[in-house]
Symmetry: C2
Subunit: 115 residues, 2 copies
């Protein structure tokens, strides 16, 4: 449960997600595995450029790769996506707990004022 993700992993993860092309690729891979060529198709940039994006995604742990004939199919690794989600959720949780405490504090203050 306690997702122990290192700071370096989070660096790599959020860096990977900070580029539109890479987010597109991740979104594409949620639908199904794909080769570099297939992933490169929609873009004006060279396949080499897409290959480099894929490497960034691979290093972040967001995708893994296999081998099939002469292709290197890409597959999404949802565990990495979970790590990113966990960090964000933890922050949201802490913040909302603080807000809850603030609310109840204000309620108490209000109650006193009402008397």
């Amino acid at each position: 449960m306690g997702a122990t993700t290192t700071d370096q992993q989070l660096d790599a993860l959020f860096t990977a997600l900070s580029d539109r092309t890479r987010r597109d690729i991740v979104a594409r891979l949620t639908i199904g595995d794909a080769t570099v060529k297939e992933l490169a198709e929609p873009y004006a940039m060279s396949m080499q450029a897409v290959s480099q994006h894929i490497r960034v995604l691979e290093r972040s742990g967001l995708i893994s790769r296999g081998r099939h004939r002469q292709t290197r199919p890409c597959r999404l690794e949802p565990a990495a996506l979970e790590s990113a989600a966990s960090w964000v959720e933890e922050s949201r949780r802490t913040w909302s707990e603080r807000m809850d405490r603030l609310d109840s504090h204000l309620a108490r203050v209000q109650k006193r004022a009402d008397r």
Copy 2:
């Protein structure tokens, strides 16, 4: 509900979160508002450097700033955190739907094989 976050907003958001110092600052701000000086305290780097990190966070929408005496207190803006969470959750959802379909497909295939 349909969090319509632009690609540029997501770029800024994930870029902001891709740095450990900035993630630390966000985590610190979940606990409570703070001034630049307070946020800079734990770090070896100059206050100017922290001020620049804060600007990145502000541009991403993750924090907002007020004025109080000669300080510029920073406050977390959880809506931005939600935008980031939404993007990740959307990907996770699509992926798991695909997995569900795959599972039920495999179940059907298995059933046929059992006969």
